[in-house]
């Protein structure tokens, strides 16, 4: 059996005794061209890339990602564009895992099967659907698995142990732990120590699953969490794009610089 690109990425990082760096950017932010350029440019420094497909009623995103989303919607980025960006990226970087992230309505309108077909055509490796929790996601997650697309299950500080066990059992290559009660990009309001305690609790249920931590992770906070299997940084990158635009600078180089810094902090 061949190992999935996502699993391989984690395996390689473990060899290097460091967490996987997972970046999140928004398709079409700040332009369709630039969002591709950013993916392409940061790929060398990151292990897994998340790309968000747009929805204009995002109920779990904080201010930074909302800004990016509205910017991309304004310049006319569509779901079709997102798949094209993904496809182009995977053509240039066939071994870099790419995960699409977004809200269920876009999948629902496409139809689950047609959405997955487009994922396959663009060589997308995984999916995160923010508002399709377990057990409602069971059927769709199975469909993903059949197509060799990893469906990423989420866990949060409010998830009970019993529920965690069931979710982990149904999980694929990667599980995403939400560090705190927050929308994305909130200030880290829980100490890294407590986050890691919770992390350990989950790992004790099943040590073999790749568990990543996200929400509130920045250049400042990342090194304190580096014992995790993987760390997700999103809002900090979206914020960098906003800042670059405000300062008349090139978002591609600025975001790349941040990603390099993040990578250095966990090496």
């Amino acid at each position: 059996m061949t190992i999935s690109p996502i699993n391989l990425a984690f395996k390689n990082c473990k060899k290097e005794k460091r967490p996987a760096l997972i970046t999140f950017t928004v398709a079409g932010d700040n332009t369709k061209k630039n969002s591709f350029k950013i993916l392409n440019s940061i790929a060398k420094h990151t292990d897994i890339l998340e790309l968000s497909f747009l929805h204009n009623c995002p109920i779990a995103d904080g201010g930074q990602i909302q800004n990016s989303t509205y910017r991309a919607l304004k310049n006319g980025t569509t779901l079709k564009d997102t798949f094209q960006i993904a496809k182009k990226f995977k053509k240039n970087n066939p071994n870099k895992p790419l995960i699409l992230m977004g809200y269920y309505n876009l999948i629902y309108q496409s139809g689950e099967n047609s959405f997955l077909k487009n994922c396959k055509l663009s060589k997308v490796d995984g999916l995160i659907v923010v508002d399709l929790p377990w057990p409602e996601n069971k059927k769709f997650a199975k469909k993903c698995k059949k197509k060799s697309i990893s469906f990423v299950q989420l866990l949060s500080p409010t998830t009970s142990k019993e529920r965690m066990k069931k979710i982990i059992k149904d999980s694929h290559d990667m599980i995403y732990y939400i560090s705190m009660l927050s929308t994305t990009g909130g200030k880290l309001k829980v100490s890294p120590k407590i986050i890691l305690e919770n992390y350990d609790k989950i790992k004790r249920i099943n040590n073999s699953k790749n568990l990543v931590i996200g929400f509130g992770i920045t250049v400042k906070t990342i090194s304190a969490l580096k014992k995790a299997d993987g760390l997700v940084v999103g809002s900090a990158l979206c914020k960098e794009i906003s800042n670059s635009l405000n300062n008349g600078q090139n978002p591609v180089t600025n975001v790349t610089d941040i990603v390099k810094k993040l990578r250095k902090k966990i090496s």
Binding site: Y108, S110, S182, T183
Partner: protein
């Protein structure tokens, strides 16, 4: 799709929370799974708890002012010369609209859950005003999320919220109306669900919020059913219950008690906001055949692009200015128990003028949409048909818009 007899409509969903197999559900982030589950268990318990019911009824009677009046609109009936037109004057409830029922129940639940903070969304400002009133009454700290556009056009209700000690959080994203306020309120709850109770302002949102709101506003039809029997000695053979529909909380509450009657006897007519006469935008997903989509945690008919982006709405009435609609109404539409139509901004304004000319009644722009339909229907029907309009809000909050559009208030 069929409605079951002897089971409350709010309970006619499957184990995943879907009415008619496809409307509703709980499309929520993982973080909210536990708080939603806790709330579901608590509500199931409380609605069977005699003391809780007693408490609810006590506050409904002594604080909200139950029952609200049921009156015949003699002059309007004479003028139109057809069916009898009656009004259930829910705007006489404390605070001036039906939103008080849901707000009161949510505060009672929050108290039981041991929460000290309560947050809510608002469009017309009534849900916010009532929640701020109830929060003050029950000693809860209150935050209201409201679109920046609505804050401007519904100033009187904003003043009331602030007077009640609530904080109004302006929402500047998207269209800056109700749809964005609900999103922002949900985001706030995601971040604060350990200390905070959330009240969704209508029969929308994840399954449990639809149920709590529908259960609360059903007070309207419980009263009405008794009042009709007092007046007519029985439920008339031809009864039409006309109500405006935005999210759908007042209409659901106005109809619930009559659900088991045959449609031939008790007809439900929901009137959505058609928007300005010459505009393509509207807030009438049921009337204009919008597709099913996911909005604010529930599957429903919703105005959206082919790709699934929620479309901006337009209506003179902030309370109806919502791209989606309650899963309960989607169910009632597909089960063919209710029928839905729309009134334009202009029709609502004309209805407001006519009603206020003939009657000592001051319906807000939301029920003015319902009156527009009643005015259209009545002349075509006989005197033995009884039309009842739910006058669910008072126009005080609309005084600036009415002054601007009609030159007087």
């Amino acid at each position: 799709m069929k409605i079951k007899k002897n089971v409350p409509l709010i309970d006619q969903h499957d184990k995943n929370g879907f009415w008619g197999g496809k409307f509703g559900g709980s499309f929520i982030p993982e973080t909210l799974k536990k708080p939603v589950e806790d709330l579901t268990i608590l509500f199931q318990k409380l609605r069977r708890d005699k003391n809780f019911i007693k408490k609810r009824d006590y506050y409904f009677k002594n604080w909200v002012g139950s029952p609200t009046p049921f009156i015949k609109l003699e002059n309007l009936t004479e003028h139109l010369g057809g069916a009898q037109i009656w009004a259930k004057v829910v705007s006489e409830a404390n605070g001036g609209a039906h939103k008080i029922y849901n707000a009161t129940v949510h505060c009672l639940i929050a108290k039981r859950a041991g929460k000290k903070h309560i947050v809510g969304d608002t469009g017309a400002g009534y849900a916010g005003k009532m929640l701020s009133m109830a929060a003050k009454k029950f000693g809860l700290k209150c935050k209201i999320f409201m679109g920046a556009k609505d804050i401007k056009r519904q100033k009187p209700n904003c003043d009331a919220m602030r007077k009640n000690g609530a904080e109004i959080v302006p929402v500047y994203t998207g269209s800056q109306t109700l749809v964005d306020a609900v999103s922002e309120c949900m985001r706030h709850w995601v971040s604060n669900c350990d200390s905070t109770h959330m009240a969704v302002g209508s029969t929308v949102g994840p399954n449990i919020f639809v149920k709590i709101c529908g259960w609360s506003t059903s007070q309207i039809s419980r009263e009405l059913s008794i009042q009709i029997k007092d007046e007519f000695l029985k439920i008339p053979e031809k009864l039409k219950l006309i109500n405006c529909v935005g999210g759908g909380s007042s209409s659901f509450g106005f109809w619930n008690e009559f659900m088991h009657y045959k449609k031939k006897q008790v007809e439900f007519i929901g009137v959505e906001a058609g928007g300005p006469k010459n505009s393509k935008k509207h807030a009438a997903p049921l009337t204009y055949g919008s597709k099913i989509g996911i909005l604010h945690g529930a599957a429903q008919y919703v105005n959206q692009s082919a790709e699934g982006q929620i479309e901006e709405t337009e209506s003179i009435s902030a309370g109806l200015d919502y791209p989606g609609v309650s899963p309960l109404h989607c169910f009632l539409k597909d089960a063919k128990r209710a029928r839905y139509t729309a009134a334009s901004d202009e029709e609502a304004l004309r209805a407001y003028q006519l009603v206020t000319k003939f009657e000592n009644l001051n319906p807000s722009l939301e029920p003015s949409h319902a009156f527009a339909e009643a005015i259209k229907l009545a002349p075509k029907l006989n005197r033995d048909t009884v039309i009842i309009v739910n006058s669910c809000g008072d126009a005080q909050k609309d005084r600036d818009i009415l002054r601007q559009r009609l030159g007087k208030f």
